[in-house]
């Protein structure tokens, strides 16, 4: 297997190319631009036989994806932050019509203040839109998960759109070494695309029909059952991918939690920084570990419960705020997932890394120690936003 150094965005574009996408419809937005510029270039040089549609907004980008996917074209797009927000309405339509559009979201904070830098506010705002959603922590994973997304979404028992979340700049703009799969292996892994309900006058179908009150509830229930049952295929795909690449992916992943009493929970690229903090605290004699959420939707309830059942404390680190609500959106989901357990860890909530602010290894160490103290003192109803000046 070839190992080369490449910018994250370009590796993602390579994955989309290797998957032989038919249509890319996109509107540029920092920090997503390099992905779509690269794809435009590959189409222009003829290396990728696809239509590149430079539409006039993200609302149109997702709508064009809807159209191309509905006639059976393998469809890819990418966006970030404000762009994802502008797509919002159409995201729900795509998942409800069961159109397996594949999208890389280069996570970016939301205005105002205007910021092009990363956090997870954009992700949290589209939490409930019915897409399969997963997080990459490094360039290799961004490449791997983009490839897997096609196989998962297009599986006939799935047929859901998939979002791969990639932290803005921290992943999109760094050059990292990654292993490139052979084209033959990828072709074997991702079968040629056949959408079973493609619009085709010879075999008429209607997509997204009107849903009056006597059917809307049933449609939503059916969609929900279908989304929850995609986990089998997700797990299967990752097992097959492991055979191909040697790299394994799981809905919830753990680092040094075997004998741990306390664990930190993260998502995305900050997980790798957090691992260093875990190593450092372990060298100081603290039995701490790290739990990382890879699969965000459908939410991996069982895997999460299994991963944290022996912990006394789980410290959840959020990179978004649910304004006026239970502040850390991930912490709040974790709490609700763990609530039915007879014994469960205490959950402590921290928020940080907003609008591209870095969280260092030292900051994670400090946060974990603080979390342990708060758990000991049973101080669990509040949350803390780390490193806020002037408070």
């Amino acid at each position: 297997m070839k190992r080369i150094g490449m910018e994250g965005s370009l590796a993602i574009a390579e994955a989309a190319k290797a998957a032989h996408v038919d249509v890319v419809a996109a509107y540029p937005i920092t920090p997503q631009t390099h992905i779509v510029e690269k794809l435009a270039e590959l189409v222009a040089t003829g290396e990728l036989k696809a239509d590149y549609i430079p539409v006039e907004s993200e609302h149109s980008a997702m709508s064009a994806c809807l159209g191309s996917c509905a006639v059976g074209a393998r469809t890819f797009t990418a966006t970030a932050g404000q762009g994802l927000e502008l797509m919002h309405e159409v995201l729900y339509v795509a998942s409800s019509m069961r159109l397996p559009i594949i999208m890389v979201v280069v996570n970016r904070s939301l205005s105002a203040p205007l910021s092009v830098w990363g956090d997870h506010s954009d992700v949290m705002a589209v939490r409930d839109c019915g897409w399969i959603q997963m997080f990459a922590e490094n360039v290799q994973q961004a490449y791997d998960l983009t490839l897997c997304a096609f196989k998962i979404g297009e599986d006939h028992s799935v047929l859901f759109p998939v979002m791969v979340h990639v932290d803005g700049f921290h992943l999109s703009h760094v050059i990292e070494p990654y292993f490139v799969l052979n084209q033959e292996d990828i072709d074997g892994f991702i079968p040629p695309y056949r959408y079973p309900y493609a619009l085709n006058p010879a075999k008429p179908v209607t997509l997204g029909a009107f849903g009056p009150p006597n059917v809307y509830t049933e449609a939503k229930k059916a969609q929900e059952v279908a989304l929850l049952s995609t986990k089998k295929v997700i797990l299967n795909t990752w097992t097959q991918f492991k055979k191909l690449s040697g790299r394994s992916y799981n809905p919830v992943e753990v680092y040094k939690t075997d004998d741990a009493d306390v664990a930190l929970m993260t998502m995305g690229s900050f997980s790798e920084t957090a691992m260093l903090a875990i190593d450092s605290l372990r060298s100081q004699g603290l039995k701490v570990g790290l739990v990382r959420l890879r699969l965000w939707r459908p939410f991996p309830f069982d895997e999460l419960r299994a991963a944290v059942s022996n912990l006394s404390t789980l410290i959840v680190f959020d990179r978004a705020i649910s304004s006026g609500g239970p502040p850390g959106p991930v912490a709040s989901e974790i709490r609700s997932a763990l609530y039915p357990m007879k014994t469960r860890p205490k959950v402590v909530s921290f928020i940080g890394g907003l609008g591209g602010r870095d969280v260092t290894v030292q900051a994670f160490e400090k946060l974990i120690k603080k979390g342990i103290e708060k758990a000991k003192a049973d101080q669990l109803t509040d949350y803390e936003m780390i490193e806020v000046r002037g408070q």
Binding site: P28, I29, T33, E37, A40, E41, A44, P54, E56, L114
Partner: protein
């Protein structure tokens, strides 16, 4: 001694972040000169866009509220309707106005909103790194059209001024350029007239300004000034596109 040159009062003394040869800084200065000469500084509200001019509030010493990408005309509409004594202008790029914000621009114009739009056309999405805009010339190379814009796939450059001239609510639309001292003087005159149109409450006014972008065009500043004359003005001819101000009574 007679003072012949001064720094505009409504232009803050902050160093511009714009690239060498970029037209935005010239346009900023022209707008500020007009605001000063018409004594509007205390009444003016500006709506800057996401785009290279996203930091406009660092330069214009007037109230400003950043809009979401493309939504300037709608934000300006709200501000002007609720505060009719204010002089409200939007400052927008061609991605902002001619791509993502076409809908609100056309509809604000159609309603004849009493606002002024400063439309800076540099034929690319500058801020995001020089991708094709709807205004990109056929054959022009950008990061998303590496072999040049292909009309059969991407359409021809969209002429927003001509399109908006068809809309009844618009009363004054002129296309100018900021690529020579002569053109810069004409640009200022047009900006002045557009603000005057708003003061007289005649309807929607817009000045489209062809503006060099040496960085994304991959040219020297001088070449980019020449390119405006040689290529851009062929597709986007300079001059008054619509002027019905004479037919309307100022109220």
């Amino acid at each position: 001694m007679k003072k012949v040159y001064a720094y505009p009062k409504s232009l803050k003394r902050a160093p511009f972040h714009y690239c060498p040869g970029c037209g935005h800084s010239i346009v900023h200065r022209l707008v500020c000169e007009v605001i000063d000469e018409m004594n509007l500084q205390d009444k003016t509200i500006g709506i800057p866009p996401p785009g290279c001019s996203v930091f406009a509030y660092n330069y214009f010493d007037v109230d400003m509220a950043e809009s979401a990408h493309g939504r300037g005309a709608a934000v300006a509409t709200g501000a002007k309707r609720a505060f009719p004594d204010a002089i409200v202008f939007t400052y927008q790029g061609d991605g902002d106005l001619a791509a993502i914000g076409t809908a609100e621009t056309i509809h604000a114009a159609n309603r004849g909103e009493q606002i002024t739009t400063i439309f800076v056309n540099n034929a690319v999405y500058g801020m995001t790194g020089g991708q094709m805009a709807p205004t990109t010339l056929v054959g022009q190379k950008t990061t998303t059209t590496p072999y040049g814009r292909d009309e059969s796939l991407d359409g021809a450059p969209i002429k927003m001024s001509e399109i908006l001239a068809l809309v009844k609510g618009t009363v004054y639309i002129e296309r100018v350029a900021v690529n020579s001292p002569d053109n810069i003087r004409k640009a200022k005159k047009a900006i002045r007239k557009a603000f005057q149109t708003q003061i007289y409450k005649l309807g929607f006014s817009m000045v489209e300004i062809l503006s060099p972008c040496p960085t994304n065009w991959k040219m020297s500043p001088i070449e980019s000034w020449q390119w405006v004359d040689r290529e851009m003005t062929k597709v986007f001819p300079l001059g008054v596109i619509k002027d019905t101000t004479e037919k309307k009574d100022a109220d």
